[in-house]
Symmetry: C2
């Protein structure tokens, strides 16, 4: 099956937003084993949407549209598509009822009501995340068009919970993927270590991907049922676990901070942060996870040497002898925040995020991340020249991963 994604919205053509809907759906299609050869974007303009539909019909089995289902005058996707495929719109009573309940209290204009109008003979895709329902039509045998709303907060769950099951029902097999998340080993090193295994696999398959300075291995199986596909993936995941060891921070978890959250809650531990070059990013990422207050109480940003001494008790001698960007300072910062906060684990970051401030001995991109527990301190260092933003992201990941590893051992 070949799919084409058509995104409708003048805001895309004006550059006001990026087409993240197409990205999200494409990723989902790849997981389902459905090929996507083209994305198209057109404005809220019936003639140009018609032209785009005409082209897509000629080269795709599945068309997924995003956008243009809302209540305003420029939302014309449903009307245009219904006309293009010779279908009338009818008012769906069940959807009208849902709309009325959802809008309760607010005035219902005729524009709001039109969201319940749907093409005859369609499969309704109920929208639990917004007002406009989606729908799917089979325009000829084996050829399907699915309309999803445009706002990403609606498009994503509508794809996962409505379009995905619809697409899976079209196939007699199911694709299931599981993601092994890795920090601290690059894509090529992972590929190297797993090449023997990967080459021997046919179904399931395993493939590494680089992602935001991390790496993930996707293990994908195709089978009659999801259960069966899952069971096929499991032994491969175990093999990869054995080969890669503790650089794996989680299976099917969203991020290092989510993996940290799981182990901290399970072991009822607490962590505190002391940051220099990341300046709040470590604490921010830890608390991106709702419920972080269970294991995070306190952090400090000590950007200047004075702040490092005053808040964390880093010694003047250490700063003079080794400098603020040094393993010694990182260790004292981690220890200092652990003692100040009373947390089980203290973590620290100090480095040179640039673009200025580098020297030949301590270039831009050099950072130290430290961890302190009752058993002592540990510091790692890394150096790679890239943008200020990426250096800070990488340094924050290093510190959070140190906390995760320390927690695993406690």
């Amino acid at each position: 099956m070949i799919c084409e994604i058509i995104s409708v919205g003048t805001e895309l053509l004006l550059g006001e937003i990026a087409n993240t809907d197409a990205q999200y759906i494409s990723k989902g299609l790849a997981e389902l084993g459905i090929f996507c050869y083209y994305h198209s974007v057109c404005g809220d303009n019936p003639a140009r949407l018609n032209e785009t539909l005409r082209i897509a019909r000629g080269r795709a089995d599945i068309i997924i549209t995003t956008g243009g289902l809302g209540p305003t005058a420029d939302d014309l996707t449903k009307e245009t598509i219904a006309a293009a495929f010779g279908r009338k719109l009818y008012t769906d009573e069940a959807q009208l009822e849902r709309l009325k309940i959802r809008m309760s209290g607010r005035p219902m204009t005729s524009n709001n009501l039109k969201q319940a109008d749907l093409p005859e003979g369609c499969t309704v895709l109920e929208n639990d995340w917004g007002t406009a329902p989606g729908c799917a039509i089979e325009w000829e045998e084996g050829k399907h068009l699915i309309m999803l709303p445009g706002p990403p907060s609606e498009c994503r769950p509508m794809f996962d919970h409505r379009a995905r099951p619809y697409l899976m029902a079209l196939s007699d097999s199911v694709i299931y993927s599981t993601y092994i998340r890795i920090y601290g080993m690059g894509e090529s090193a992972v590929e190297d270590k797993l090449s023997f295994l990967m080459n021997s696999l046919e179904n399931p398959t395993a493939a590494p991907y680089a992602k935001d300075g991390e790496c993930e291995v996707r293990v994908t199986a195709r089978a009659k049922t999801e259960e069966e596909a899952k069971a096929m993936c499991a032994p491969v995941v175990e093999q990869i676990r054995e080969i890669l060891g503790d650089v794996i921070y989680g299976i099917d978890v969203g991020s290092i901070e989510e993996a940290l959250s799981m182990v901290m809650k399970e072991k009822k531990l607490t962590v505190a942060t002391a940051e220099s070059c990341t300046a709040g990013l470590v604490a921010k990422r830890i608390t991106d996870i709702a419920g972080a207050s269970e294991y995070f109480n306190m952090g400090v940003v000590t950007y200047s040497n004075e702040a490092k001494m005053k808040l964390l008790g880093v010694s003047e001698e250490t700063l003079k002898a080794h400098g603020a960007v040094s393993p010694e300072t990182a260790a004292e910062m981690a220890r200092g925040i652990r003692l100040l906060s009373g947390a089980d684990i203290g973590i620290s970051v100090t480095g040179i995020a640039g673009p200025g401030g580098g020297t030949p001995e301590k270039p831009v991109g050099l950072y130290y991340a430290g961890v302190s527990t009752a058993e002592g301190e540990e510091v790692i260092s890394r150096s790679f020249r890239t943008t200020r933003q990426r250096i800070r992201h990488s340094a924050a990941s290093a510190a959070i991963d140190l906390a995760r590893r320390a927690a695993e051992k406690l």
Copy 2:
């Protein structure tokens, strides 16, 4: 002039990255007054790129492609386009020389060398941000195709410094835009206040846009020269300044934190941060600006009540009587961090970022931001129900804007 953007890259169709190149270029085209009716994405596949080119040629005067200019085997954009427009590739000696200098020390494979191959009769667009040059061809009179590299770190400056001047030279007038950045007043309120002025304008024009919880007004003039267009914008910007007053945090600045940076450096002031629900995001955003160490030394993340008392001296009575999310606590946090750090300005945030933790009196989305100077404390509050991430972003913006306003007055 009507433009179409074609992005070439299988990674886009697999959902590995979003098409931010198309967004960036679209924004630039809108500023130039060039219409963009379609974006198309296809993979690194000559047949499908040919099909996409064929369609675009039939409906656009300008085609801009991104991607596929690099050294690897799947980079086929140049070869495919040259063939489609009946042009041979030649090795450009000047580009070959540049390549050799850029790669000095590293081994030059034949793949690397092919980056200097360009279509006959093209205008070379030198790439100062990467290895692969871009180019432009006039495929028939008044019809132009511009090839840009795919990595955003190359595509963006190549558009700004190469494609933009090329496009401007095609027109006998110049478009100049200036951006008035606003925090603390919504798009519709801004539109309301400016509607009389906006309606009276023809050239320049003024239009408000919502952007990441903020608002900006774009003032655009068309004239013979950029200087002339700039001069036409200036009095309109002044009028808008008079109407909107201090909700304007800057003209042509990138962000609130950049505006803060400018005033802090100019006035030689310092700021320190005390954060609860934003948990490091305020400090992180302040230090996103390189050189922030001139005016930022210290911040604390006091997530628990104990941390607020211990580090900032927030009184137990205040926390008991009013709770952690209260104007009283916000004021004591701001004052506490100012005294602890010795900075001129202390700022604070406390709120309920959700999804849990809300009550009828203090719902998810309620936050207080505080500022403290030698002259006293000030607290603002806001409440709007949205995602954890957006609530935290908004609260951080509020605190940074309070610091900016306080600095303006000191």
